[in-house]
């Protein structure tokens, strides 16, 4: 019940010309993408998916998402490299790192590169809700 209210409030508050937040999930795990998509759709988000850093950068340029969830350990181009490129082309893009590799060193490195937050896997629904709220705030502020 509380969750439903939270969701409705978020949808009402989005204020992005009444369009839903467009979020890009980047993870090589199909399971992770499926579970996170369901989570984000509960919050009324429109979801895009990429399986590696290279595809994520392409989608960021083409689709201009409002925010990105980005894994670090991925084939081809990993999350750190993808974050670096994303921040070069869209410095204001909110990027939430969602990774198993949450060492203090990785945390520092990604925050220095401009990531908005770092969520250590396994994530909780509350962490995702908080991340969506911070993406929404940034998106509204930037419009």
């Amino acid at each position: 019940m509380e969750d439903n209210n939270e969701m409705e409030n978020m949808q009402e508050k989005s204020g992005l010309d009444d369009r839903p937040l467009r979020i890009l999930i980047t993870d090589d795990s199909k399971l992770l993408r499926k579970k996170l998509r369901l989570e984000l759709e509960k919050f009324g988000c429109e979801v895009l998916e990429a399986q590696n850093g290279k595809d994520a950068v392409m989608l960021t340029l083409q689709e201009k998402p409002d925010g990105v969830f980005l894994d670090i350990v991925m084939p081809e181009v990993g999350g750190i490299e993808a974050l670096r490129v994303m921040k070069e082309v869209s410095p204001e893009l909110p990027v939430i790192m969602l990774s198993s590799a949450g060492t203090p060193q990785k945390l520092m490195e990604t925050l220095k590169l401009g990531a908005l937050d770092f969520i250590q896997k396994p994530y909780t629904s509350a962490q995702i809700a908080k991340a969506i709220e911070s993406i929404r705030k940034k998106a509204v502020g930037d419009e």
Binding site: L31, S100, A101, Q105
Partner: protein, 293 residues
């Protein structure tokens, strides 16, 4: 009592034999901890009182305890909540199969509760000391990882489990198998992997993902890989706090291969749904070079 440790503790203490424990885990998988067992573990009721009150009736405890003035109804409610989150299936299974009565169960639960250290780590240290002396330098790392792995297995796959020296059943491993491994590189070089029959592999995937998975397909591989990735990630974070800087590589999957690596330790992990092999090494050969059947 830390109920996650109970089965392993009993094996390490020689109270139950490894073979017996494997059967017990299967029983534990089928049972639900009764409130009496939860009350005993929480110290709400003594073993002697339980033995006197309800020698047989597993489900009658709450009514009897309130009627006899042993517990308030509110306490019973709290115990009900504890039941849904605990790992007391092994304790209940010991009663169910008649291996222990309340008195004996209470004694071993208390002993397990007052134990220092981790029975999983103790088991790894013993296996290395008895059979793999050359791995002495890796003992700490392998014991720490096994502890984290076993706790994660129980948490994410909702099963009691024990770790023993590797002697998997032939029928479990001779036919179709899957291997998943992941390398951690940096301050130390470490590889963890697991090797299971397809039947057990599918069950692991299903339990971790809460999805309906009935084939050892790409989705099953993805689920088990992600489980290992999450465990390794937690391990890397733990090591990071101790100033070890490690990077995770992408997990690798192999079919019908045996993992091979240097400084390798193989451990048998028994769960309520079957056994698999946990493989720890300081490095690995590529899966394509590994032995194929």
């Amino acid at each position: 009592m830390n109920s996650l440790y109970f089965a392993q503790y009993l094996v390490n203490e020689g109270v139950i034999a490894e073979r017996e424990a494997k059967e017990l885990l299967k029983e534990a998988e089928k049972t639900t901890p009764g409130l009496a067992v939860v009350a005993l573990a929480e110290g709400a009721v003594s073993a002697s009182k339980l033995a006197e009150l309800m020698p047989f009736e597993k489900d009658a405890f709450s009514k009897l305890a309130v009627a006899e003035g042993l517990l308030f109804a509110s306490q019973v409610e709290k115990l009900q909540e504890a039941r849904s989150t605990d790992g007391l299936k092994t304790a209940q299974a010991l009663l169910d199969v008649g291996k222990m009565d309340f008195m004996e169960l209470g004694r071993w639960m208390a002993a397990c509760g007052s134990m220092e250290g981790s029975p999983f780590k103790e088991s790894v240290r013993r296996i290395i000391a008895e059979q793999n002396e050359e791995l002495e330098a890796e003992e700490g790392l392998y014991a720490d990882f096994t502890e984290l792995f076993m706790r994660s297995l129980m948490r994410f796959m909702d099963t009691p489990a024990i770790v023993t020296e590797c002697a998997p059943d032939i029928e479990e491993t001779l036919f179709a198998t899957h291997t998943v491994s992941q390398r951690l590189s940096g301050s130390v070089s470490f590889v963890s992997g697991l090797y299971a029959s397809d039947k057990v592999f599918i069950e692991m995937a299903q339990r971790y993902s809460h999805e309906l998975i009935d084939e050892a397909d790409e989705m099953a591989e993805d689920c088990v890989s992600e489980f290992l990735n999450v465990v390794n990630g937690l391990f890397v974070v733990d090591l990071g706090k101790r100033d070890f800087d490690l990077d995770l590589e992408t997990p690798r999957v192999g079919k019908n291969t045996k993992p091979m690596g240097s400084r390798q330790l193989q451990l048998c992990v028994d769960t309520g749904f079957g056994a698999f092999t946990l493989v720890l090494a300081s490095d690995e050969v590529t899966l394509s070079d590994a032995h194929h059947y």
